[in-house]
C-alpha cells in the first residue's frame, strides 16, 4: 500500500510530530511505501526519518506533481490548524482519506488579533475539510465531541485514538546531577510545567500558586519548560509572568528554560508536575510526567480528566487556592505521593506504542474498507492460515490479552451454528413445490423432536463456552504482572533487606560496645 502523510511541519519534539513518527514507523514495519509531505523542513528527527519527508508547496500536491502522492492508496491529513497543504484534500482522485484532528485552541485565549483570525479560520475549516475524509481520527473523547457538536462531523465516522508515550525514554530515575547544578536546584522541591507559554495554558496562575506554596514549603521552585519567544504573544506572557513573580517576591524561584533538546531529564528532575491550562485537546505532558514517575496536578478541564483517569489530582479550572492546596499537600504527604507515583506509572503503560499501533491498524482497516480492493486485511476467520497471517501482520505476540480478545470475538461470532433461515426447496419446475412439501413432511419426525433440539443444545454449549473463556481471559489479563514492575519490586525488597542487615550490624556493634 502507498501512504501519504500530510502536515504543516514535522517537529520531533512536539506532540503531533511524535504521532507522525509513530505512524511512519508503523507503515515501514508493515512494508508499506510511505512519504511525509510538509511545508517546512523537518526539525529534530533522525536522518532515517528525514529521508521519508518531502518539503512541498500546496501547488505540488494539488497539481499532482509528485508521483507517490498522486498514486497513494491512503492519505493521512494532520490538522493542527488550517495550513495550505490541507487544500489538496479536495482534489484527491483516489484512495482513502483520514482526517487527523488535533484540536484548535479557542481564539479567545489569544491576545494577538491576527492569530485569533488564523485560529478562527482553522476552526471554520474543520467541517468542510473533514467531510472529504473517510474517517476523522482524534486523540480524546473531548475532541470527538467537539468534532460532532461544533464541526458537524458524522458521529459514525469519528474514531478516538489516544497517542502513545515513548515509555523507553520517559521512565523514573534519579534527579540528573548536571541539571541540578546548571540551575542551582540542589535541595529544592521542583514544580514542573512543560508546554508553550500560550494564553490558554495560564502560566500566570502557576506563578501565583508558587507564591502561596512557598508559605508552607519555602524551598519550592517553579520550572517552566517550553517555547517562550517563538511568537510575540509567548514573549508577552512570559514577561508578564516574570513581572508578577517579582511583585510577589518569588522571582528567584521561577525558572524559564525556553525550548530544550531533551525532555525526559526534566521530568525526572521534578517533584510535582502542575498545569493550570484551560484548554487541551489531549495533554501529552501529563502522560510523560506519569511515565516518569512524577505525580500530576492538573485542571479539571477539556481532555485532562480522560488522560489522567484516577492517576492524578484534578483541580477546578482557574482556581489558584485549589491548585496551591493540592501541590502543597502532595509535597508534604509522602504516602499519598508514593501512591500517585505508582498509579501514574500504571496509567502510562496503557498508552504504549504497541497499543497505539493496534488502534491505528484498526482505523486504517476501517478507512480503507470502502476502497474497491480493500488494501488492508480485515478481521479474519479462525482458520490456522489466516491466524498466522494475522499474527505476523501487526499483533505483538507479547500482547496476549488482546490476542485472546480477537480470538474470542471470532469464537463468539461462530457460536451460532444453526442456519435459521434454511427452508426446504426444490429447483424443479411445476412439481417443485410438491417435492418440497413432501420432503418437509417426510423429515419432520426427525427434525422437530431430534435434530432441532440437538443443534439447540450445541448452540447453548457454544455460548456458554465463549462466555466462560471470556471470563477466564478477563481474569488472566487482570492477574498478569508486568516484568518491569516485578523487577522494581525485587529491587526494593533487596534494598530493604540491605537496610535491615545494616541496621542489624549497627545494632550488634552498639550492643558490643
Amino acid at each position: 500500500m502507498r501512504v501519504s502523510i500530510i502536515n504543516l511541519n514535522l517537529v520531533g519534539q512536539d506532540a503531533i510530530g511524535g504521532i507522525i513518527l509513530d505512524q511512519l514507523q508503523f507503515f515501514r514495519r508493515n512494508g508499506d511505501e510511505v512519504q511525509v509531505y510538509t511545508l517546512h523542513p523537518p526539525v529534530g528527527v533522525t536522518d532515517g526519518e528525514a529521508a521519508a519527508v518531502r518539503v512541498v508547496t500546496a501547488g505540488d500536491l494539488i497539481g499532482q506533481r509528485d508521483e507517490h502522492f498522486a498514486t497513494s492508496d491512503l492519505y493521512v491529513y494532520h490538522y493542527p490548524s488550517r495550513h495550505p497543504l490541507m487544500e489538496s484534500i479536495k482534489t484527491l482522485a483516489r484512495g482513502a482519506v483520514i482526517f487527523y484532528f488535533h484540536n484548535v485552541t479557542p481564539p479567545e485565549f489569544w491576545e494577538d488579533e491576527a492569530e485569533r483570525e488564523q485560529l478562527r479560520a482553522s476552526l471554520e475549516g474543520v467541517s468542510v475539510l473533514a467531510s472529504y475524509a473517510d474517517l476523522a481520527v482524534t486523540d480524546s473523547e473531548y475532541n470527538a465531541e467537539q468534532l460532532v457538536n461544533d464541526h458537524r462531523v458524522d458521529p459514525d465516522r469519528v474514531r478516538v485514538l489516544p497517542p502513545a508515550v515513548p515509555l523507553d525514554q520517559f521512565s523514573p530515575g534519579p534527579k540528573p546531577p548536571d541539571l541540578l547544578e546548571q540551575y542551582g536546584l540542589a535541595g529544592k522541591r521542583i514544580i514542573l510545567y512543560v508546554g508553550r507559554m500560550a494564553g490558554n495554558k495560564r502560566v500566570d496562575l502557576l506563578v501565583e500558586a508558587l507564591a502561596q506554596v512557598r508559605q508552607e514549603v519555602p524551598n519550592a521552585v517553579l520550572m517552566l519548560v517550553g517555547d517562550k519567544d517563538g511568537n510575540p504573544s509567548f514573549q508577552a506572557i512570559t514577561a508578564a509572568a516574570q513581572a508578577r513573580a517579582t511583585e510577589l517576591g518569588v522571582a528567584d524561584g521561577v525558572i524559564f528554560t525556553g525550548r530544550v533538546d531533551e525532555l525526559p531529564p526534566y521530568y525526572r528532575l521534578a517533584d510535582v508536575y502542575a498545569t493550570a491550562s484551560l484548554h487541551e485537546g489531549f495533554g501529552v505532558p501529563l502522560l510523560e510526567a506519569m511515565a516518569s514517575g512524577t505525580p500530576v496536578v492538573a485542571t479539571d478541564a477539556t481532555a485532562h480528566p480522560s488522560v489522567l483517569g484516577d492517576a492524578g489530582v484534578l483541580v477546578a479550572p482557574g482556581h489558584v487556592e485549589a491548585l496551591t492546596g493540592q501541590i502543597t499537600h502532595l509535597l508534604q504527604d509522602d504516602a499519598r505521593y508514593g501512591e500517585l507515583v505508582q498509579r501514574g506509572l500504571a496509567r502510562a503503560r496503557d498508552f504504549s506504542l504497541e497499543a497505539y499501533w493496534r488502534g491505528w491498524a484498526d482505523v486504517i482497516h476501517e478507512a480503507t474498507q470502502w476502497l474497491p480492493q480493500a488494501a488492508y486485511p480485515g478481521p479474519v476467520t479462525i482458520s490456522g492460515d489466516d491466524k498466522r497471517r494475522f499474527r505476523r501482520q501487526y499483533i505483538d505476540v507479547e500482547a496476549i490479552g488482546s490476542l485472546l480478545d480477537d480470538d474470542l470475538r471470532q469464537l463468539e461470532s461462530k457460536a451460532e451454528v444453526v442456519d435459521h433461515a434454511y427452508a426446504v426447496r426444490s429447483q424443479l419446475p411445476v412439481i417443485g413445490p410438491f417435492i418440497a412439501w413432501l420432503r418437509r413432511n417426510l423429515t419432520s419426525h426427525l427434525k422437530e423432536p431430534y435434530v432441532d433440539p440437538t443443534f439447540g443444545k450445541q448452540e447453548a454449549f457454544n455460548w456458554q463456552t465463549v462466555q466462560t473463556l471470556q471470563i477466564m481471559a478477563a481474569q488472566l489479563t487482570r492477574s498478569q504482572i508486568d516484568p518491569a514492575e516485578l523487577a522494581a519490586l525485587q529491587e526494593r525488597i533487596n534494598a530493604l533487606e540491605q537496610q535491615v542487615a545494616d541496621l542489624q550490624s549497627t545494632l550488634a556493634r552498639a550492643i558490643e560496645n
Binding site: 484527491l92 484512495g95 467531510s131 474498507q369 426447496r425 426444490s426 424443479l428 413445490p433
Partner: protein, 416 residues
C-alpha cells in the same frame, strides 16, 4: 459535482420517499451542484399513469420524466404470483415477473442512463424495490459511474429488499444510505450491504415558521393560562392515544387547567375509544372540558397546535424514526415518547424530553405532573430539543452527510 438522482416518482407526486429525494435534490442544488432527476411521469404508484410533463425545472433541479408501462389488474396479479412462488421454486425465474409486476417499467430511462451516465459524477438511486432501479443501476455501473442507493427498506416487509436483484444492487453499490441507525444495523445484520451511511431524516426549518404561542392558542380556542398537552398523529392503537388519554384523565383530577389536544386522522379504534370515554364521563365528547379532538387537520392547524402546546406527548411503540418529535422541538417544546429503540436513540431522557415505559401508565402521569409544576424546566428541555434538532436533524445537515458521501465514493472510484 454533477449528480443524477433516479427515483420512481418525483414532486408534484406526494409521499415520504418523494419528499425525501426532493428535499435532498433541492438542498444539493442550492449548494451549486448540478442535480438532475430521472423519474416516471406518474404521480400514483397504484397505476403508474403517465400524467406529468416530460421535462420540468423545479427549484433549480432538472426533472426528466419517462413513460412507464401502466399497472393494471394483470400486472398486480403477476406481482402476486411472483412473490408467492419466489421462495419456493426457481427464484431466478420469478425475478422478472416480480420486476414487471412492481413497475414502473421505463425502457427510456434505462437507455437514457446508458447513453448519458458519463455526464454525471455520481448516480443516486432511491427506492430499490420499484422497477426504475435495476436498469438504472446496471446502466450506470456499465458506464463506470459510482452508484449510491437509498433502499428505503422496511424490515418487516421482505418484499422491499429480499429479492435477488434488489439484494444484488445493495451488495454491489458503492454505498447505501440508511435513514436511521436501526435501518443501518438491519442491513449489516442481514448482510444486505457492507458500506452503509446513516443520513436520513431532516426538517426543512423554514417550513416551521416562528409563531406566537398566545396567537396560536387564540386561533385554536385554547385558554391562555391552560397547561396544554398535544397528541398529534394518526390515531392507531400503537401510537399510544389510549395511554395519553388515561394520563390526561388522571392529571385532570389533580388540576383543572390541563388541556389535551388530540389531532390526527381518526380510525375505527379511536372512534370506539372516544365513544367509551364519553360514555364513562356521561357527556358528549365535544362537551367534555379540556378536551379538543379533531380529525385530520390542515398544516396551519398542525403548526398552530405545535406552537400552542406546553408539551408534546406520543408514547408510540411503533415508530421507525419519530419525525414528529423533531417538529415539536422546532417550536421549542419538550416531548414525551415511549422507551423503544428508535425513539430512545432520538430523545435524551431528562434533557430534551422524557422516555416512558409503555407498560407503566403511571410513569406518563408522573412525568406530565412534573412538567406542569416546573415550567422553567419544561422550557429548558424544549430549548435543548430545538438545539439538538438544529445541530443534527436539519436538511442542511443531511446535505452535509450526503455531499461528503458523494465525494468519497467518487474518489474511491478513482482507485478502481
Amino acid at each position: 459535482m454533477r449528480i443524477l438522482h433516479v427515483t420512481h416518482q418525483y414532486a408534484p407526486a406526494v409521499g415520504g420517499a418523494e419528499q425525501y429525494i426532493q428535499t435532498l435534490s433541492e438542498e444539493l442544488a442550492s449548494r451549486g451542484h448540478q442535480v438532475d432527476v430521472y423519474t416516471s411521469r406518474s404521480r400514483e404508484y397504484m397505476t403508474w399513469r403517465n400524467e406529468l410533463p416530460p421535462y420540468e425545472r423545479i427549484n433549480g433541479v432538472e426533472v426528466h420524466r419517462f413513460r412507464a408501462i401502466q399497472r393494471r389488474g394483470y400486472t398486480w396479479r403477476l406481482l402476486d404470483m411472483g412473490m408467492r412462488n419466489y421462495r419456493a421454486v426457481l427464484p431466478r425465474l420469478w425475478e422478472p415477473v416480480i420486476f414487471f409486476g412492481n413497475g414502473p417499467v421505463m425502457p427510456g430511462l434505462g437507455l437514457a442512463i446508458a447513453r448519458r451516465a458519463d455526464r454525471y459524477d455520481v448516480v443516486h438511486i432511491s427506492n430499490i424495490h420499484y422497477a426504475h432501479a435495476w436498469p438504472a443501476f446496471r446502466a450506470a455501473r456499465r458506464q463506470g459511474a459510482p452508484v449510491v442507493v437509498t433502499p428505503l427498506l422496511h424490515a418487516e416487509q421482505p418484499v422491499t429488499y429480499d429479492v435477488g436483484y434488489m439484494r444484488a444492487m445493495l451488495a454491489q453499490a458503492q454505498a447505501a444510505l440508511a435513514l436511521t441507525p436501526g435501518e443501518r444495523d438491519f442491513m449489516y445484520k442481514e448482510k444486505l450491504a457492507s458500506k452503509v451511511v446513516v443520513g436520513g431524516v431532516g426538517l426543512v426549518i423554514k417550513d416551521f415558521p416562528p409563531m406566537d404561542p398566545a396567537e396560536a392558542r387564540r386561533r385554536l380556542g385554547v385558554p391562555q393560562d391552560a397547561f396544554v398537552v398535544l397528541f398529534l398523529g394518526r390515531k392507531v392503537a400503537y401510537k399510544g392515544l389510549e395511554r395519553t388519554l388515561a394520563a390526561f384523565d388522571a392529571l385532570r383530577r389533580q388540576r383543572s387547567d390541563v388541556h389535551l389536544l388530540a389531532y390526527g386522522a381518526e380510525t375505527d379504534e379511536s372512534r370506539r375509544l372516544w365513544a367509551d370515554y364519553a360514555a364513562q364521563q356521561g357527556a358528549p365528547l365535544d362537551a367534555l372540558p379540556g378536551l379538543d379532538v379533531r380529525d385530520a387537520v390542515s398544516n396551519e392547524e398542525r403548526l398552530a397546535a405545535l406552537a400552542a402546546c406546553d408539551v408534546f406527548v406520543m408514547p408510540s411503540t411503533g415508530e421507525s424514526f419519530g419525525i414528529v418529535y423533531l417538529e415539536a422541538w422546532a417550536y421549542g417544546k419538550p416531548v414525551i415518547g415511549a422507551n423503544i429503540r428508535a425513539v430512545a436513540s432520538l430523545i435524551d431522557d431528562g434533557v430534551n424530553g422524557h422516555l416512558v415505559d409503555p407498560a407503566e401508565p403511571d410513569q406518563l402521569v408522573e412525568r406530565l405532573a412534573g412538567l406542569t409544576t416546573d415550567p422553567g424546566r419544561a422550557r429548558a428541555m424544549g430549548e435543548a430539543g430545538r438545539e439538538k434538532l438544529l445541530r443534527r436533524y436539519t436538511t442542511q445537515r443531511i446535505g452535509d452527510i450526503v455531499e461528503g458521501l458523494y465525494r468519497r465514493v467518487i474518489r474511491h472510484a478513482g482507485s478502481e
